[in-house]
Subunit: 259 residues, 2 copies
DNA sequence: TTCATTAAAATTGTCAACACTTTGGCAATG
DNA sequence: CATTGCCAAAGTGTTGACAATTTTAATGAA
C-alpha cells in the first residue's frame, strides 16, 4: 500500500496517456480499497492544503488509476465536488478544479463575515468554561506550530479554529455553510492572491477573538473577526496566470501520510 | 404526453408492485424525454408546493417509470436531492423525503434570519428606482392572488419575493444559501407545523419590508423581516404523525401544468 | 399467539461494454 | 499561410445485465 504511493513514475507518463505502468503497480500492490468518502476527502484536503491549483484538469481514468478504483466511483466523487463548487463540470468536457472569479471571491468573503459573526453571537450566548479551555488549548497548539515554523500544520490548525467555533455554536446549518465557505476559500486565494504566507490567518488575532469570547463581548469579537477576514479579502484583486499542476505528485504525496 | 399524466391508475397498483400497467402506458405515450434537471425541478417543486410529505419513500424504479426515464438518471437526481438535504439516502435502503428534526428546523430558521438580514443590508446599499418598481409590481401580484383566494399561487409568489430580494442584492453566495434554506423550509413546516394557512408569509409584512427598503432604512427592514420569520419559527414544536403520500398523484398533477 | 427461520421478491449497487462527443493533428484547398 | 475538412485518439456518458442487500411472506416451533 505504501509501496504504490512511494513508487516513482513521472507525470509525463500520465499526461502522455501511458497508464499501463501505473495501473500495473497499483493493481498488484493496491491493498487500500479507497471508498467514495475517502477519495472525496483526499481531493478536498489537497485543495485545502493549497496543493491543487485552480484550473487543473481532473480526468476520470487518471484519477481512477491513481486511487485504484473504478471510474464510476470517481464520477460520483467529481459530481459531489462539483456540487460544493470545488470543481467545475462541463458536459462532455470533464471536470477541472474550480477557478472562482474575483466577484465570487468577494461574495464568498462577504458571506463569510456574516456567517462567522452569527456564529460568534450564538456561541458567546452559550459557551461554558470547558469549551473555553478547549479553545485555549487549540490556540496553544497553533502558536506552537507557528513558532516551530511548521507552516502546513499551522494552516491546518488555523482552519480548525474557525471550524471549532462553528461546531461549538451548535447551529448545524451555520456550521455547514461555514465549512462550505472554508473549503472554497483556498481556491480564491490561489487564484487571486498567490500562495503567500501573508494571506493566512494570524494566530495573534485568533487569540484576541478568544479573549473577547471569554469576556462575552460580542461586539469586540465580531469586530476583530471582521478585521481578521478583511485583512485577506481586501487583497483580492489581481489574477496571475495559473500553472497546470502535476496531479500525480500532489495526490500521491497526500496519500502517503494517510493510513 | 398529457395523456400519460392524466390517465388514471390507482396508487395501490404502485404500492402493490403492479407496475406493468403503468409502464405500458408510459412507454407508449411518453413523448416527453424528461432530462435530469427537469426531473429534479419537478420533485423540488412538489416539495415546495407542500405536496410531498416528509418520510415518503422514493423508489428508483417507481420514479423511473413515472417520468419515463432510465433508473440511472433517477439515481443521479436522488443523489443531488440528498446533497441539498431534501431527501435522505441510506445505503442499500434507498431514499426518502427528508424529515428534518425540530432542532434542524430551528437552526434553519435562525440561519435564515441571518442571511435575510445580510441580504437586506446589501440590497439597501445599492437598490435603484427600477428595482424598487419591480418589487412593487411583485407585491401587487401577490396581493391580488391573496384577494382572489388563489392560495397556491400566492404561496409561490410569496417565495418568489424572498428570492427576488436575494437576487437583487447581487451576492451569489448569499443567494445560493437562501435558496437552499427556502427549499428545505416546507419540509420543516410540514413535519412540525402542519399545512395551515397561518404558517405562510403574510403579504402585509412584505409590503412593510419594501417600504423600509425604499426609505433605505436597514434597521426597520431587518426588524420587520426578523418578526416576519419569527412568526412562523416560533410555532415549531409539536410533530404530528406523518402520512405516506401517494407519489403518483402528486407528481402527475404537477406534470400536467408543466409544458 | 408470538417469535424464529428461511425462502422468495423487491430494491439498491456495480461494472464492463458500448455509444457519443471533443480534441488535436494532418492534409488538401484557396 | 490561414482555413477547412477529415480522421483517429482520448474522454465522457449511458445502459443492460448481474451482484448484493434488504424487505416481505410463509412456515413451523414454543
Amino acid at each position: 500500500m505504501l509501496t504504490i504511493l512511494n513508487s516513482c513514475y513521472t507525470a509525463a507518463q500520465y499526461q502522455a496517456g501511458d497508464h499501463s505502468n501505473v495501473s500495473a503497480q497499483i493493481d498488484t500492490t493496491a491493498k487500500t480499497p479507497f471508498n467514495e468518502d475517502e477519495v472525496l476527502r483526499r481531493i478536498e484536503q489537497a485543495v485545502l492544503d493549497h496543493r491543487l491549483a485552480p484550473g487543473t484538469k481532473l480526468k476520470e481514468v487518471q484519477l481512477a488509476n491513481l486511487f485504484g478504483v473504478k471510474r464510476g466511483l470517481i464520477r460520483k466523487v467529481l459530481t459531489r465536488l462539483a456540487h460544493s463548487r470545488l470543481v467545475e463540470q462541463t458536459p462532455n468536457r470533464g471536470a477541472t478544479v474550480a477557478s472562482p472569479s474575483v466577484k465570487e471571491g468577494r461574495d464568498l468573503f462577504a458571506t463569510r463575515r456574516v456567517i462567522e459573526a452569527a456564529i460568534l453571537e450564538t456561541l458567546i450566548a452559550k459557551i461554558d468554561a470547558q469549551d473555553l479551555q478547549l479553545l485555549a488549548d487549540m490556540l496553544q497548539r497553533e502558536r506552537q506550530a507557528y513558532q516551530q515554523g511548521d507552516t502546513a500544520h499551522a494552516l491546518a490548525l488555523s482552519v480548525d479554529f474557525h471550524r471549532q467555533l462553528a461546531r461549538m455554536a451548535g447551529n448545524s446549518v451555520l456550521e455547514t455553510y461555514l465549512n462550505d465557505i472554508i473549503r472554497r476559500t483556498p481556491l480564491v486565494i490561489l487564484a487571486h492572491l498567490g500562495d503567500d504566507e501573508q494571506n493566512r490567518c494570524r494566530n495573534q488575532e485568533h487569540e484576541t477573538i478568544v479573549d473577547a469570547i471569554a469576556q462575552r463581548d460580542v461586539k469586540t469579537a465580531v469586530a476583530v473577526m471582521h478585521q481578521h477576514l478583511m485583512q485577506i479579502e481586501s487583497k483580492i484583486q489581481h489574477k496571475p496566470e495559473q500553472q497546470q499542476t502535476d496531479l500525480a505528485n500532489l495526490l500521491r504525496l497526500e496519500a502517503v501520510e494517510g493510513t
